[in-house]
Symmetry: C2
Subunit: 342 residues, 2 copies
């Protein structure tokens, strides 16, 4: 089982509008609602790849109840609800992989191990201008998490670690959670001998790295914020010196740069693609973790991560991946080994 | 008891953002959640004026459950929940009248007589740019209402009419409801001998007027759409000839023009005011209906409607009214009687 932790889960709403005009009134023409937060997105992709997963973190209030209901209904044919204007009750196809393939593994179950909190799970709203495809994002603040709720999470996490092959710690911290929370979770995973990937930003990332996670997966902005450098190789090496055993920098259309104990690799997608990058980073995390658990080599893990994130950009639904594109891209990802020392 | 009907209720969310920038990501800095839809707003103001009210219409799904919970908690000190960033659990003061006054009547109870439907009650989101105060509105479509649900509403409505002194039919129609629905509700109220005010727009207004409601309260745009004229007196008279016994045209900062069987009056606020006009029309409906039930003269009803809607524009919270401003404005509303025949 692969465990993902999402301390700040979200009920993700997508609103389509004909055209977003500030200060005007808009009728939402189409909408969808799905369980969100980075770790939940990672779990959905892992499930589509055939990996059994468990998700923990916090959920509460009426929005948390809807999130858990949608999470419980995730299956190959049903990974959320989509409603068209005028019809509030029609579930539509929406799965981790948008185009099924006879060679695809069956989706594996996702176990809901979320901890209930008193506050309301936040909503995020992606307003998609259907004229241009551009997205305007509105993110509610998360619920205030109490000390007792954090203690409950730690207990649940330690139980789950006993059955986990790997763990991903994902996303922002809700109000009330101390900035060293991820460092604490990294140390517990290391003590339990479970490989741990940390995907966050800012001070929680800085503190978390010092606890020596197996992997971090910063993007260019997160790396620059952490190290002060926008030169990929320099920044990635610097990040590794701060404590992470391996650093996989995601460089958007330029692919990924991996600085690991075993060497340095650059992985590049076969071609630049246009689409919605939402969720591409989460798909990359799923690719890296599943490859680790399957014992793949670094080049094969990177191929999978790059192919999955490119196939996510190509998917018409934000955060899903196009399985046919993934399988077509996988053998075509370019891998170049750096001969300089890490 | 005054009855209000809101066929397309809404869970109204207000999101404050430092500045709304299309295609960017925004952290919501403050948010509030309240039961919405025009008839619910009217009921909240009637309650603050001391009038016992009942609300019917449709509510369903998780959003409908939250709406009803918030509606149930409406009281002089608690008419919704407001949360600041980072604190999901703090209820704050929010009532129909924003500043209590020792001479103010106690808020009267609002009875929840909503009919449960299978679909989800829609959300509306008002994104307020805190730099400029401008609002961008996003309105979900309503739930699909079935024929059986409509029949259940008709039964509930007829029961409620037996105890009603007046009824207001408010707002848009959800999907599934036939365009002549308001005409049907107007006829039932007329048969029951209950004065009925219709506040809607477009084809439902056109059809509803033909069923001869006691009052309609169109704004300038709704009047122009109905009659083709933007000349207030001409358009208001034309609307009356279509079947409404009385037409109260709300002309925004110019006040109201009333064309009634008893005469024609123009009511004007003492001064132009700046603020948020959201809910001003609903406050006017509450002023007109409460005045009717209390047996006030037309000039006094109009004074109350104009003072309430002006005090709503002045309130810092959309849809609430500033009671101190209301009481100060009331005797200063200008009333001019037209000497020409209606």
């Amino acid at each position: 089982m692969i465990l993902t932790v999402t301390l700040n889960t979200a009920l993700d709403l997508t609103y389509g509008v004909p055209e977003l005009v500030p200060h005007a009134s808009h009728r939402v023409s189409d909408m969808s609602e799905r369980p969100g937060g980075k770790g939940l997105n990672v779990a959905r992709v892992l499930s589509a790849l055939g990996h059994e997963t468990a998700v923990t973190g916090f959920a509460g209030g009426s929005t948390g109840a809807v999130l858990r209901e949608l999470l419980g209904s995730l299956s190959p044919q049903d990974a959320g609800t989509d409603t068209k204007a005028g019809n509030g009750a029609t579930p539509a196809d929406s799965t981790g992989a948008t185009s099924a393939d006879s060679t695809a593994p069956a989706a594996a179950p996702i176990t809901d191990a979320l901890v209930t909190v008193a506050g309301n799970t936040r909503r995020t709203i992606a307003v998609v201008d259907r004229a241009t495809g551009d997205t305007t994002q509105l993110n509610e603040p998360g619920p205030l998490v109490t000390a007792d709720e954090w203690t409950a999470l730690l207990g649940r996490y330690e139980e789950l670690l006993t059955g986990a092959d790997a763990v991903a710690l994902c996303g922002s911290l809700p109000p009330g959670i101390h900035v060293g929370a991820y460092a604490e979770l990294v140390r517990l995973a290391r003590s339990a001998g479970v490989p741990v990937l940390l995907d966050t930003s800012g001070e929680p990332l800085r503190r978390g790295i010092a606890a020596r996670p197996d992997l971090i997966k910063p993007n260019a902005d997160e790396l620059a914020q952490l190290t002060g450098s926008r030169e990929p190789l320099r920044a990635t090496r610097d990040a590794r010196r701060r404590g992470a055993h391996g650093v996989i920098a995601s460089l958007g259309p330029d692919g990924m740069l991996a600085v690991t104990p075993d060497g340095i690799w650059q992985a590049s997608p076969p071609a630049k693609v246009l689409g919605n990058p939402t969720g591409a980073g989460d798909s990359a995390v799923a690719g890296l973790l599943s490859g680790l658990v399957e014992g793949l080599s670094w080049p094969d893990r990177l191929r999978r991560a790059v192919a999955l994130s490119t196939a996510t950009v190509l998917s018409p639904t934000a955060g899903d991946f196009d399985r046919a594109a993934y399988e077509e891209l996988l053998p075509r990802v370019g891998i170049e080994e750096h001969t300089t020392a890490a």
